[in-house]
C-alpha cells in the first residue's frame, strides 16, 4: 500500500518524508473542530494509557499534549523529574521499563539530552513521541508552526521563512528547518554569528547577519526565545545589546515590503527578541500556534496509537 503512515515512534522531522509531514498536517485539520465542540472529546483512544515523561520543565508543551490526550479519551499520567524516582538517580530505561510493567501504551518524552527519545524508543515496546530532546529535535513544534503558516499563507511551498535567534542550540530551529525544506519553503536564519551553526548554508539555508535584511526578504519570521543562560555562557554581550541589534520591533516591521507573519514558540522574553507591540500586534499568530499545537498533537497521537499490525493482518486475512 502506498498510503503514507507514520512508523512506531515520532522522534524527529529529519527522517520523515514530505508525504508523512503532509499526512500529519492534513490529519490535524479535522481535530481543530473537535476542540471547538461543546463536548471537546472523542472516544478514539479510549483505554489507551499515555505517560508524559518530562525531564525538563515545560508548561505549554506538556499542557498541550495533555489536552490532546484527554480530548482523545486516553488516560494520562504526568511524571516530572523533580519529585519522582528520577531524583533518586533512576536511569531513563529503568524508569520506562517500570512504567511499561504497568501496561502503558505510549510515552511522550522531553529530555535535556539529544537522542534521548530515540534511545528510549529502541528499548521499549510503547510508541514514543519526542517532545523535545536537548538540541536535537522538537517535531510537534515544527508541525504546529507549519500548520500555522499553511493556514495563513495557503501553502508552505515557496514561502520565505526566516528563523531568528539562537539557531545553534535550538531543537525548534532544527525541526523547523527540516520540515520547511521538505515542504518546499525557502528558509533563512538570522542571528549572532556565535549562535549560528557553521556550514548551515550547505543545507540550502540562507543566512542574514542583519535583522533588517531578513525582514526585507521574509514572508514569515519565526522568532526564537533567547535562552538567557546563553548570555552567561558568553555567546552574546547583553540582553539590551541583543534587542538593539536583533530585536523584532514595530519600527523594523513597518519597513517591511509586506505584512510579515510573526511566529514565536514561547515562552517570550518581551523586550529582548520581540517587542510587546509586535507580539500582541495584528501580524502575530503566536496564539494561533498554541491552538494548532493541540490539533497537531491529537493528529500525531491518532496516527501512532493502537497500531497493532499483527491484529490488523489477522483481521485482513479473515476478510479475504
Amino acid at each position: 500500500m502506498s498510503a503514507p503512515a507514520l512508523a512506531k515512534d515520532l522522534l524527529g522531522i529529519e527522517h520523515l518524508s514530505a508525504e508523512q509531514i503532509r499526512l500529519v498536517l492534513d490529519t490535524a485539520e479535522p481535530f481543530k473542530e473537535v476542540s471547538e465542540r461543546a463536548i471537546k472529546k472523542v472516544p478514539t483512544l479510549r483505554g489507551k494509557t499515555i505517560v508524559n515523561l518530562f525531564y525538563e520543565s515545560s508548561t505549554r508543551t506538556r499542557t498541550s499534549f495533555e489536552f490532546a490526550e484527554k480530548r482523545l479519551s486516553a488516560d494520562t499520567v504526568n511524571i516530572a523529574a523533580s519529585g519522582s524516582s528520577i531524583e533518586k538517580g533512576e536511569n531513563l530505561v529503568d524508569t520506562a521499563r517500570n512504567l511499561e510493567a504497568m501496561r502503558i501504551d505510549m510515552v511522550v518524552i522531553r529530555h535535556p539530552a539529544s537522542g534521548a527519545a530515540e534511545f528510549l524508543a529502541k528499548r521499549i515496546r510503547s510508541n514514543v513521541i519526542n517532545a523535545g530532546d536537548g538540541m536535537h529535535e522538537h517535531p510537534t513544534q515544527a508541525f504546529l508552526d507549519l500548520l500555522t503558516i499553511r493556514d495563513r499563507l495557503g501553502k508552505i511551498e515557496g514561502a520565505k521563512v526566516c528563523i531568528c535567534g539562537d539557531i545553534l542550540h535550538s531543537r525548534v530551529a532544527r525541526s523547523n528547518i527540516w520540515g520547511l525544506l521538505k515542504l518546499g519553503a525557502e528558509v533563512a536564519v538570522c542571528g549572532p554569528r556565535s549562535l549560528l551553526p557553521r556550514g548551515i548554508e550547505s543545507l540550502g539555508v540562507r543566512v542574514f547577519r542583519r535583522i533588517d535584511e531578513a525582514i526585507q526578504w521574509a514572508d514569515v519570521l519565526n522568532v526564537l526565545r533567547l535562552q538567557l543562560e546563553r548570555m552567561q555562557a558568553g555567546f552574546i554581550p547583553s540582553l539590551r545589546e541583543y534587542n538593539r541589534v536583533f530585536g523584532v520591533t514595530v519600527e523594523r516591521l513597518a519597513r517591511a515590503p509586506r505584512k510579515t507573519l510573526i511566529l514565536h514558540p514561547g515562552p517570550m522574553n518581551r523586550g529582548v527578541e520581540i517587542d510587546s507591540l509586535v507580539a500582541d500586534g495584528p501580524q502575530s499568530v503566536i496564539l494561533d500556534q498554541v491552538t494548532n499545537g493541540v490539533a497537531v498533537r491529537m493528529a500525531v497521537l491518532y496516527l501512532l496509537a493502537g497500531g497493532n499490525p499483527e491484529r490488523a493482518e489477522a483481521a485482513k486475512g479473515g476478510a479475504e
Binding site: 500500500m1 498510503a3 503514507p4 503512515a5 492534513d26 490529519t27 485539520e29 479535522p30 481535530f31 473542530e33 473537535v34 465542540r37 461543546a38 463536548i39 472529546k41 472523542v42 472516544p43 478514539t44 482523545l72 491518532y302 496516527l303 493502537g306 497500531g307 497493532n308 499490525p309 491484529r311 490488523a312 489477522a314 483481521a315 476478510a319 479475504e320
Partner: protein, 186 residues
Amino acid sequence: MTPAGQRSALLDARAITRALDHMAVGITELAGKDGANELMLVGIQRRGVELADRLSALIASRTGAPVSRGALDITLYRDDLATVGPKPLVGETRIPGDLSGKCVVIVDDVLYTGRTIRAALDELADFGRPARIGLAVLIDRGGRELPIHADVVGKAVTAGPGDRVDVLLTEVDGRDAVELVTGGGA
C-alpha cells in the same frame, strides 16, 4: 455463478433520481410525525454528505422551507481503530448549532453492518439531544451486525458478504450509478 470482480448495475442515473424523490417524500413524512421540530439532515462522509445535499434541495422544493444540513465523519468513533492500519483519513465534521430538540435524519449511501450508524449515533449524542434521530439510506444491502434499521430506504438489494456495493455520485465520481461488485469485498 458470476466471476469474482464482475460489476453489474443495480441503479442507473434515472433510477437514483427516482429513489431520491421517493426518499424525500419519506423524510418529509418522518419529520411530519414530529410536528414542529426543525428538520436537519446530517450526511455521513463522504457520499452521505452529497446525498444529504440533494435530498435537502428536494425537500425544500416540496415544502418551500430551507432544510438545514450537517456533515459527520465517524472515523474517530469507529470500533475497529485498534485493528485497522494505516489509519484512515478523517474528513470534516460540521454540525451547525445545537441539535437539542431537532428532528435529525442521518443520511448515508449504503446500510450494511450498521456499525457506521452506531458510531454516528454516539457522535451525534456529543452535539446535543435531538428530539428524534432517523436514518435514510439510498441502498439497504442487508447483513446487519447490530440492531439498527433504516426509516427511509431508496432501494433494498441483496448482496453476499463477499460482495461490494459501490455508490457513484456525479459530485465525487463524475457519474451517477449504483453497482454490485461480485466478490469485491465489503
